[in-house]
Amino acid sequence: MENTIKKKSRTVTRRAFLQGLGGGAAGAALATRMRGQNAGAGQAGIALPPALAQKTITFTVNGKSVSVDVEPRETLLEVLREKLKLTGAKKTCDRGECGGCTVLIDGQAVYSCLFPAVRADGRQIITVEGLAEGETLHPVQQAFIEKDGYQCGYCTPGFIMSTVALLGQTPSPSLAEIKAGLSGNLCRCGNYVKIDEAVAAASQKMRKA
């Protein structure tokens, strides 16, 4: 199951990633099943059995420790957005296809829409809201503004988090490594070429700093 929620190893493309789930369609089925398992639990006003009822979890988000009550069927994305009002990560496809919900869990880029919230217990999570230090932007954020690495900006939090993860592992990526590293994120406005430039600029900034 671990593989279904880890976004991907950084050199794997989006499609390879989906295949890694057991082949395109099968991968999707798996993802759906994972989310679907609990979906029926609260159906028709039937009370949740105690084992599936709310559980209190504690984790660190952007350096702060938080405790929240979650249902087993809730995803980390839902908890971040709806309970903690950290709305930077977006619910774009809600099934591991686009990267709009990408956050870092213990330093690794993860699709939070596929990550059961209960499993966040005890983990370190960073969202796009946690990158800047006060009003000073993270070099990746600066580079996305300078190179105009977005248009509507909806995919941007996801791309920025994937970039931070990529540069954490590969501080000086080649253009091919950048493209592969970000291939798990979709940008419908189609600004990939500008995003690539932003990632290269960010890498340079971070090496200088």
């Binding site: 493309t13 989006r14 395109g24 991968g27 999707a28 979906a39 609260g42 159906q43 028709a44 006003g45 069927r73 957005r81 709806e82 009002k85 950290l86 709305t87 930077g88 977006k90 619910k91 774009t92 496809c93 809600d94 099934r95 296809e97 686009c98 969202t127 796009v128 809201e129 990158l131 800047a132 932007l137 954020q141 996305f144 503004i145 300078e146 105009d148 977005y150 248009q151 509507c152 900006g153 909806y154 995919c155 941007t156 939090p157 950048i178 493209k179 592969a180 291939s183 994120n185 979709l186 940008c187 419908r188 406005c189 189609g190 600004n191 990939y192 070429v193 500008k194 995003i195 690539d196």
Partner: protein
Amino acid sequence: MKKNAYLKMAIGNKPQGKETSTPAPAEFKLIGKPTPRVDGKLVVTGRAMYTHDIFFKDMLYAKILRSPYASAEVAAVDLSAAQNLPGVKAVLKLKEGRVKYEGEQIAAVAAVNEKTAEEALKLIKVDYKALPYVVTPDKAMADGAPRVHDSANVEKINEYSRGNIDQGFAEAEVTFERTYKTAIEIHQTAETHASVAKWDEDELTVWDSTQAIFNVRDGLAEALGIPETKVRVIKMYMGGGFGSKLDANEHTIVVAKLAKETGRPVKITLSRKENSLCVGNRPSTQITIKGGARKDGTLTALSFRNTTCGGLDSGDQCSEPTIDVYKCPNVKVEEFTVFTNTGAGRATRAPGHVQGTFALEGFMEELAAELGLDPLEFRRKNYTTSNEGGTGIVYSSKGLDKCYDIGAQKIGWTRRNLKPGDGQGKKRRGLGMASQIWWGGGVPGTLADIKIHRDGSVEAVSGTQDIGCGTRTYMATVAAETLGLEPQDITVKIGDTVYPWAPISGGSLTAPSVAPAVRDAALQAAEHLRGIAAKKLSVPAADIVLADKKLFDKNKPENSIAFKDLVKGLRREAVFHGERGPMPAGFAYNTFGAHFAEVEVDTETGRISVLKVVAVHEIGRVLNRLTAESQVVGGITQGISTALFEERVLDENTGKMVNPNLQTYKIATSMDMPEIVPLFVDLVDPRINNLGNKGLGEPPRIPSSAAVANAVYNAVGVHLREIPMTPDKVLKALRGKEAGS
């Protein structure tokens, strides 16, 4: 928005018979330079508020039950079990009688959270009687096909002619006919459609993911039977529209009703599947062009016949490029739409022009080869400086010839295969190009205010929307330029119907509508301040310059007063109302461009890799080079995506869409991207408005798929004539070529 209404809006440039007021200078300090977005920080920190991100206290969540059938009679809807589910606050029946497509609204629920609303949907009992349906144009056109509407499944939607087509063909030395097809494409905006509705007494406020706040306001008022004055629509940030968010959506009306009934704010966010089924698509086309030419390449006749499919609604008229781009005295156009039991088509970034250009430019490329001419020379040979193929009024400005020159040089046009398919080896390379025309003149009457506060802060205000094109940034830049300030000094307020009216953000008309309105207001403000400064500095007002946050005597710059100090003395905050002026009659106002693509085709796998695209656009004055480049890059990316991957797939046996998600509905990723070189022709339209700028939203989307397809033709010697050019089609075409068909 109905596509025809959209096109009417896009054309927007109905000549008005008056000259524009202030001519634009040749060079500006800020306008035209690359300026990072003024609101960048909000976006990159995740603080920009999209409709999805709005959460109110006590807010309810709506979900909609939709028809699983392409065609059915809804005999009964039983809401009682859903109503009784704890947490459900309201249930609405939306349909009884005939449903006509998979995804049509049946009922809606508002509940304390999304999961409860989802569960409630499962408890709604619907008695469906499935009916016969048609989901493909071929089946819909067949004899005895089930009718989609009460009228026939095929309807003529457009015709046009000039000259004498028969005579044109009689004069031709070569006659040539080809058919081109494009698939149905889904907008797949990153942010799915979403709305939040909230009532205070009899006043409704709606936050909507929209490209057109005023259209949403008017549509809601009409649907709810309340005055427009009682509806306010707000759009802060939105995650992409591409034409699918141009009016009040059905689901928005539903949440307004649910909010009224429950007395609580109600939010709806559509799922990716709903976004794939219910909120629009780019209609498919099958276009046959027959052309006649002399051996020297002079076109004598073009006949254009389009059969388009937009599901429940009419498809796209696609003939405009064929009517306008090339000099040709004899043209005949006929366009037909076919109705099917599928979600209605909607305006999709450059509706009609994308498909029409794919056909026309493919045809030009193939006809050039037939004539043994360089395809670019063939296009130049039929160049025109007036519309309707040289028979209409002249263009106010047209730099397409310069686009050709620059693009050919940058791509290295001479490197192409002189004869299509001349290359050797398993992997073949080729070059192709395509021309573009679009409107983009803007809408006279667009309003904007400049408000100068006594503390020196300045607002630029307009009821427009920034849908990702950088509207806020060029509004700030234009105001700052005119007032001698910096973009950061300007607070931009947009996206609210309480602000002065502005048109939809679609049709490439935002920049040429809103920027001149801001300029107009700022010019009035500058004149007012100049008058005050003239008295203070004892020089004629005409000699006062606004620059570097000061007002000073142009003959003695040290005789100056700081902007801040000057406005401190204002009696109250000063408001200046700007308006985008009319355009002189007697000219056509259009945008132009040309794309040049290089591809590599793997003849063993059928895989196409796009290696490089050079795009040259003529849009009058560029307002912000940085964001303009992004527009071009995005248009090309979407064009490549359509050329290679995108297609809505329907199952004829069930009437259902089989790929309503982002895994099976493929869109391009970073891995599919070539090197992109976005360039602009340096030109200022002399009379379009007070800045000389035209729009850029659609232009880069228009020729991109066609240029790629033409490059594939140049590489392998067979034109696929159909997008998406998936590997199976490439291999089939190559086999067909080998077999000599």
